[in-house]
Amino acid sequence: MMHTIKRILGFIQKKKRGKISLLFLFALFIVSLLTPFIANDIPIVCKSKTGLKFPVIQKLWKGSAQANMDCEWSLNPLIPYSQKTIDIKNGRFASPFSKQNTTSLRTRHWLGTDALGRDSLAGLMYGSSIALRVGLFSALIALFLGLLVGTFAGYFGNNMLKLNGLQVVLVIGLIVLLLYQLSYGFFFGHAYDGLKEFVLFLLILALGSIGILNSASLLKQTIRVPVDNIVLWIFEVYKSIPNIFFLLVLLSIFVKSGVASLVFTLSFILWPIVARYTRAEILKLKEENFIKSAQVSGISSWGIVRSHLLLNAIGPALVSFAFSFSAAILLEATLSFLGLGLSVEEVSWGSMLSEVKNNYKAWWLALFPGLALFLVISALNYIGEMIGEFYAQS
């Protein structure tokens, strides 16, 4: 696996644009990790009378730090503003080129401020961490779901998955329990000490159903499950509603939207992309001789899927991973721009852009976050294309 990744990275770096894209994404990743140490209104290290303190780490760890500490000596971040710092002196849209009410070059707002006087550069850096977090996690969940469903549908097709009576009962039982959990919680969501009763209930259910089915000799009868048709049906439903409409509808379930609910919703929207790619790839692989010989030699379905199909399908799935990564970032920015994505306190590229709607003269609030967004998306899309090319060649 590591070997393949190295080869893919090498392949991408052959092209100049690929190299730049990779470097850019890597740099952005590092910046987004280090943002609290680069742009913050509290010192990184502070030597006070009581001893050495690390306010930034403290804030990251505990969520808050002591305000106004007396430092004999301190190491301050490069940009003395966090994304939430309100600089009253430079409020109401200070332009990057205008004369700003600051004392030194370091405290100057290099990319201007917004209506409240928050620094755009700090916001841009914090926004990058949000964009990457949302994009990465939703793409990862989408990759997982998509690989699962795509492999399942591609391998089993319409008549290879046979369930006997017991399995059918178990599947239906599981679905019912899942729905029950979702709408009421097994123990009504709050009291999880009913676990013993629940396990007992499951045991009785299982034993009882085996007994009944065994006596009725239903166990031996098998049903073919048309997995592929079911999955294709889901694809068709997804295809018939444009993403943004579906997303708007789904988001309205959440009382308060945060990163977690956004990631959940985005991955729910994006998994069919991965599943479609994976399904097509598995269908192609299934015709290969090595799979057929594995089937003939008596390896179980699960064994074939695990050790032959998944390993071969994960490469092409990476292509869709890159595309869903960029799609997630774009959708997050679009939603935040419309005012529906993250809550107002979170600063993201989209929410910075949406502030322009209050003042169309503040071009810097639109130009820089949008440029960052554009660069990330094109870098990711290019990498996706290159991975696709890599697999097309090999």
Binding site: F188, K239, L330, L353, W363, A366
Partner: protein
């Protein structure tokens, strides 16, 4: 071919039915209470009346009128010790639920068959007969609201698609036939940028730099965003008076689609040029340009034609953002605003409409593909 067409057409209602399940399920789980919206609409909410602002009788009456006393779906799933129905009033209901939860920690799920007398059935029956209900915001019929909004969207979408295809196809051919290497590179780069740029950013940038004369006199090209007054009776005079405002949104939608189409056309042409018949044409003495315009062009157009109808859903999706930015009272802005206030009748109406258009567009694009490509046509038979 006929059977294929029939099969595809019959699938559309089932897709719409599946969507209705999803939307209904979601609408039952949103935090807002639509009964209160209706009460507000009917003017039955007063701040002084009580804490909630409405009387219990009014609330119950409205809830019954809109079928909220019925079970949600054909099949129900609830803990065995729950009563058949909880109170309809939100406060009483939450108290009851808390009581039931503390009463018994663990309860087996019980499955009920609710019969046809349920909310979903009543709702879908109305929709099948064409009645989407009324909007909870202004009491207008959903169908009129959607029809009004749809006119704007369809004008924008169709114009944008036509313009972008005309421009994109000719640009694709031009970039392939031109001998000027530099203009080819420039065209390729522009079309890439136009395609890859996020639409909402593009629109914002255009609004910032090209609607004022802050950045030099020539930059004041387009009129700035203003509110369209949709109260006038007939659509076309309104469209004419609003025409100036529509230029910029139309331009943005066109350019975005244009970037995509010209790239597709170019790559499609490249594929054709490398085929054997192209070489034959060249060797029998045709110039490169003649080969493309006489032979390559026709074949390269096939995949582009199928893009034509599948571009409709994509452009409608793009119009959500454009319409919200430019204050155009189209479908996209309608669904956006309705979701904000939990106006679910309208939301479902719009989603239904869009899904119908999308399904039909994909059907059309498949048909066009079959029509233009004899190989596929034979496969289908």
């Amino acid at each position: 071919m006929f059977w294929y067409l029939l099969k595809r057409t019959l699938r559309i209602p089932f897709v719409l039915l599946s969507i209705s399940f999803v939307i209904f399920f979601i609408s039952k789980h949103v935090p807002q209470d639509s009964v209160i919206n209706i009460l507000a609409l009917e003017g039955k909410i007063e701040q002084s009346n009580s804490d909630e602002g409405y009387s219990k009788e009014d609330y119950l009456q409205v809830a019954k009128q809109y079928n909220y006393h019925l079970p949600n779906f054909y099949i129900g799933l609830r803990p065995a010790h729950y009563p058949k129905q909880l109170s309809l009033l939100p406060e009483e209901r939450s108290i009851e639920e808390k009581q039931l939860q503390t009463e018994k920690r663990f309860s087996l799920p019980s499955i009920q068959w609710n019969g046809l007398d349920n909310q979903y059935h009543a709702w879908i029956k109305k929709i099948i007969s064409g009645d989407f209900g009324i909007s909870f915001v202004d009491g207008k019929k959903v169908s009129t609201k959607i029809a009004e909004a749809f006119r704007w969207t369809i004008v924008l979408v169709l114009l944008a698609i036509l313009l972008s295809f005309a421009l994109g196809i000719s640009m694709g051919v031009f970039s392939k036939t031109t001998k000027n290497k530099k203009s080819f590179e420039v065209l390729k780069l522009t079309s890439y940028f136009l395609y890859a740029i996020p639409v909402f950013w593009f629109a914002t940038i255009m609004l910032i730099f090209f609607t004022t004369d802050d950045y030099g006199a020539w930059t004041n090209i387009f009129p700035s965003v203003s509110i369209l007054d949709p109260r006038e009776d007939s659509f076309f005079p309104m469209l004419l008076s609003a025409g100036k405002i529509l230029i910029l949104p139309l331009l943005i939608m066109t350019l975005h689609a244009f970037g995509y189409i010209s790239r597709q056309m170019e790559s499609s042409l490249t594929e054709e040029v490398n085929k054997l018949y192209a070489r034959t044409a060249l060797s029998k003495g045709l110039s490169y340009k003649e080969m493309i315009t006489k032979h390559g062009f026709k074949n390269a157009l096939l995949p582009i034609i199928t893009l034509l109808s599948s571009a409709i859903p994509g452009t409608i999706a793009g119009s959500v953002i454009i319409e919200t930015i430019f204050n155009i009272p189209g479908l996209g802005r309608l669904i956006f605003e309705s979701i904000l206030v939990a106006d679910w009748n309208v939301v479902f109406g719009v989603v239904f409409m869009v899904a119908l258009i999308t399904s039909i567009s994909f059907l059309l694009s498949d048909l066009l593909y079959a029509k233009t490509n004899p190989k596929i046509r034979l496969d289908l038979q």
